[in-house]
């Protein structure tokens, strides 16, 4: 064991974990930018808050565990965890919600299991699921852009509606939008007599899938039929663009060979097939179109970024495919028949449960092993 350094191989590809993580962060950018365009600064604030607390928690835990802090912080895995966690949190969520989730993710789901590479469950999704169970209201209130701006304009700093201001439409990327996002993230900064509840209630809105689940299929389809353009910041198109952003990032990961195609393809194909099977056009069922399932929610980010977390996923090729199918089925089932609105976190965690068994039972055939006798004989001249 002592002479590891003097033993072959001596050549290395030069790849390292930090590079992988950095590319992963880079691949998240298109989707994050799309979210920024539609939801304003809230998502950015979430990422920053999560990143800050992730690094703080990681440093603390590394110190407590007596690890080399500089070496392990440099692998950027905490930042990736923070980013994956934060993009699932509704913009406008209060800072403590984000902090609580990411601290749970890093401390409990990651380090208490032995740190990087040892966690059986995806830390980001553990944090997310914990929040979803503990704070269901905050976790499902997405603040849609028009509402953000209009809602904010309609009240002054004292919460009194301002007459005539409704007509003014501002971008969520404006200075005003920024101030609003800050106020939502850090409610303690508001003046004491500010009616926070009225303010946030005015902004709350659901994701298209939630809307769909609650109101049947008509509302969304009607909005789509009315010709809402992709970049008009309509609530119906936001998720489409965001999902396309994440799909683009996912393709980058595939191209860079950071992830293999098995898990994303299995998930997307499963969701597509199952939702197509159950979808009956024109019926008043709640099943939703395959398109809605793929692009109306977090399917893309789940398939490319979250389910592919190598540590907690199945690691064999056949195992990855089964793992993807399990997650795809769970995503659809939880959405359609379950009581939770979006289902990526639970589906991925369920996949994590199955992963060790998949690794054990779905193994590729080793070269030269398991050849049938007949096959053996036929190779002889």
């Amino acid at each position: 064991m002592s002479n590891m350094d003097t033993r072959a191989p001596f050549q290395h590809s030069g790849k390292n974990i930090a590079q992988l993580m950095q590319t992963l962060l880079l691949a998240l950018l298109p989707g994050i930018c799309a979210s920024l365009w539609f939801f304003g600064y809230g998502i950015l604030l979430n990422i920053l808050i999560a990143g800050f607390f992730a690094l703080a928690a990681e440093t603390t835990m590394l110190r407590l565990r007596g690890k080399n802090i500089a070496l392990h912080l440099a692998d950027r895995s905490a930042l990736v965890c923070a980013a994956l966690f934060a993009i699932g949190i509704p913009p406008g969520a209060p800072w403590w919600l984000v902090a609580l989730g990411i601290i749970f993710a890093i401390v409990v789901a990651k380090h208490l299991y032995g740190g990087l590479g040892q966690n059986p469950f995806n830390p980001a999704m553990c944090g997310y699921a914990m929040l979803l169970l503990a704070f269901p209201l905050q976790m499902t209130s997405w603040h849609l852009p028009n509402e953000v701006v209009e809602g904010a304009l309609s009240v002054d700093s004292l919460g009194i509606p301002i007459a005539g201001a409704e007509q003014e439409i501002l971008s969520p990327l404006s200075w005003r939008g920024f101030k609003q996002a800050l106020l939502l993230s850090f409610p303690f900064a508001a003046s004491s007599d500010f009616d926070m509840k009225a303010f946030t209630d005015g902004l709350a809105m659901a994701t298209p899938l939630i809307e769909f689940k609650m109101a049947g299929h008509s509302a969304l389809l009607a909005a789509r039929d009315s010709g809402a353009s992709l970049f008009s910041r309509e609530s119906e198109t936001a998720w489409e663009v965001i999902n396309i952003g994440y799909l683009f990032g996912g393709l980058l990961l595939l191209y860079k060979r950071i992830i293999s195609w098995h898990i994303p393809v299995a998930i997307i194909a499963t969701v597509l097939v199952v939702s197509a099977l159950f979808y009956a056009p024109g019926s008043v069922s709640i099943y939703g179109t395959p398109y809605l399932h793929l692009f109306g929610s977090a399917t893309m980010i789940g398939a490319f970024f979250i389910a592919t977390d190598p540590v907690s996923a199945a690691t064999t090729r056949p195992g990855k495919i089964v793992y993807g199918i399990i997650i795809g089925l769970s995503i659809y089932s939880i959405r359609v028949w379950g009581s939770y609105l979006d289902s990526i976190a639970f589906a991925v965690l369920f996949g994590n449960f199955c992963a060790p068994a998949l690794d054990q039972f779905c193994r590729p055939r080793i070269f030269g092993q398991g050849l049938s006798r007949a096959n053996n004989e036929s190779t002889k001249p």
């Binding site: 064991m1 590891m4 350094d5 003097t6 033993r7 072959a8 191989p9 001596f10 050549q11 290395h12 590809s13 790849k15 390292n16 974990i17 590079q19 992988l20 070496l71 392990h72 692998d75 895995s77 740190g115 990087l116 590479g117 040892q118 950071i258 293999s260 190598p310 540590v311 996923a313 690691t315 064999t316 090729r317 690794d359 193994r363 590729p364 055939r365 080793i366 070269f367 030269g368 092993q369 050849l371 053996n376 190779t379 002889k380 001249p381």
Partner: protein, 548 residues
């Protein structure tokens, strides 16, 4: 454009990596014939591996090509490997020394102080190999002391013999040479393709193979062209010798992987290719066979690549067997201040040499004087994140990430279940690992631990049996005195009556008669006892086997 009889293998093999090859440096110049060094240490073999018979003594003057010694391998089915003098001179000593090969142990070497005259024995007359029977060719190859030049060092004649009772369908000349840095075979083929091709024909005839294929990586256009020309030039060879290009990836040249990509045959784990009618010989071996048969020269030199950033002029040498590594490095203009380490073999399966004093052997294919920037020690190891890059790179379709976890917990049954023993230690997993985990070293240690555990287990098993038998015997002997009568009711009364008879007639007549009868009874009882004991020990042994 591919020439006549050349085809590109379209069969995909699992895994593989494409590291930078670094071969271009040593291929810039032609193969350099070697100046005669003042001293040669010609390795004969390790004392452990067989019986060494010396043909000379210290102080003798020897000529070039003279047989010096031979190693009679102790392993079953292996013949002797003779060694010959690479040049003329005086044998100054016979001593143990380090050799530049993978054995990592001292070997008996014949120290030859050269006289610079290079006077040689008359060579055996060159013969047309087509006139010789396969047994004669094998004998000639054996007498020339040819071993596998790719690095394995298995006697070439024995390899042919191992397939003698089989119908050999396919002979593959392995010219893939996929490992970075090594360019010896490529240089050899570029300059002496006719020899390699003729050697292939000789090996084919020697092993009575139906077909012969020369396999080379598609990324070596010069060598491919040379081979095509050589094959076309020799019409008798062109008929049954084919050139197949395999995909340029590491480890394309690994024996079983090469067989798969050339012939589509997957050799089962733990079996020799010969069992499936396939023989693989290295291109260097093929050339040595050509020299032995067509030129009558024994194996006294080989092509060795010298490379690395610490060398001013990396190149390929026709190195005399027994010259020191240091001598070769000096000719290449080594800057020792630049050198960080010396590696024997390629960068992925090589071996770090502790000193330059080692002697070049018949398997020394490459020597790298690595600068500090190249082949740098690995960065600090991080945790495995199970990214699976290793599994994608593994040519045997193992799951290195799982093997690592099982190695850490010393879970030997799972290690075996996951095919640890099928690992060919090619190092592809190490190469791609983003956490810089020394996977191959860990597997080697695990393999060694499992082997050690097996021998320990066997030993303790044997001792346990002996102990149990001992216990059994003591118990039996204790029991036997009082229960002999009960155990053998048929014998018992007779014995007792005999006993009483003895006491009665002790002073009566017929001492003779009594003793005879007693003796025969005792013999019968002893036979019965032994039978019973055997039956019981068998059942004990089978019970011991059961729990496993």
């Amino acid at each position: 454009m591919l020439g006549v009889g050349t085809s590109l293998s379209t069969r995909r093999t699992a895994g593989g990596i494409k590291p930078p090859t670094h071969k271009e440096h040593s291929l810039r110049s032609r193969i350099m014939p070697m100046p005669i060094p003042p001293q040669l240490k010609i390795p004969v073999g390790a004392t452990k591996s067989g019986t060494i018979t010396l043909c000379i003594a210290a102080g003798d003057h020897v000529h070039k090509y003279q047989k010096l010694a031979q190693l009679q391998m102790s392993a079953q089915g292996r013949s002797c490997i003779p060694v010959h003098a690479p040049t003329s001179g005086i044998v100054s000593a016979i001593e143990e020394a380090y050799v530049a090969d993978h054995s990592q142990q001292k070997q008996v070497c014949i120290v030859l102080t050269t006289d610079g005259l290079d006077t040689s024995l008359p060579l055996e007359p060159a013969v047309d190999y087509r006139q010789l029977a396969s047994e004669e060719l094998v004998t000639a190859i054996r007498r020339a002391g040819i071993v596998g030049m790719g690095g394995a060092g298995f006697p070439a004649a024995d390899k042919i013999d191992s397939a003698a009772h089989q119908a050999v369908d396919l002979l593959i000349i392995n010219a893939a040479e996929c490992e970075p840095y090594i360019s010896a075979d490529e240089a050899l083929i570029r300059e002496r393709a006719e020899g390699v091709v003729t050697g292939a024909a000789i090996l084919q005839r020697a092993s009575s193979a139906r077909r012969c294929v020369i396999a080379i990586e598609s990324s070596k256009p010069d060598a491919i062209q040379a081979l095509e020309q050589a094959i076309e030039a020799q019409t008798n060879i062109a008929e049954n010798c084919e050139l197949i290009l395999v995909a340029s990836k590491y480890p394309a040249g690994s024996e079983k992987q090469l067989i798969q990509s050339v012939a589509g045959i997957e050799i089962p784990s733990g079996q020799l290719p010969a069992r499936h009618g396939v023989l693989v010989h290295n291109a260097g071996t093929s050339y040595a066979a050509f020299q032995a048969v067509a030129q009558g020269k024994p194996c006294i030199s080989r092509i060795t690549t010298l490379s690395g950033q610490a060398l001013k002029t990396p190149k390929n040498f026709e190195a005399l067997i027994g010259c020191s590594v240091e001598f070769l490095f000096d000719i290449c203009g080594i800057d020792k201040s630049l050198r960080a380490k010396t590696v024997l073999g390629g960068s992925l399966m090589g071996l770090q040499l502790p000193s330059d004093n080692a002697a070049v052997s018949k398997t020394t294919n490459c020597l790298i004087a690595a600068g500090s920037a190249e082949l740098a020690p690995p960065a600090e190891t991080q945790a495995c994140i199970r990214c699976g890059f290793c599994a994608d790179a593994c040519p045997v379709r193992l799951l290195p990430q799982q093997l690592l976890a099982f190695s850490k917990t010393e879970n030997n049954s799972q290690l075996l279940e996951h095919g640890l023993m099928d690992c060919i230690e090619c190092g592809a997993c190490d190469y791609v690992c983003p956490s810089h985990i020394p996977l191959v070293s860990i597997y080697q240690d695990s393999k060694a631990a499992i082997e050690a555990g097996r021998t320990n287990h066997e030993r303790s098993e044997a001792w346990q049996q002996r102990f149990q038998y001992h216990q059994y015997r003591i118990k039996k002997e204790k029991d036997q005195a009082p229960t002999r009568t009960k155990a053998a009711p048929a014998n018992k009364p007779a014995a007792e009556s005999g006993e009483s008879g003895e006491s009665v007639s002790s002073n009566g007549d017929g001492q003779e008669f009594f003793s005879k009868e007693k003796a025969s009874r005792e013999i019968a009882a002893a036979v019965a006892r032994v039978k019973a004991r055997r039956a019981e020990s068998k059942s004990v042994a089978s019970e011991q086997d059961k729990p496993k």
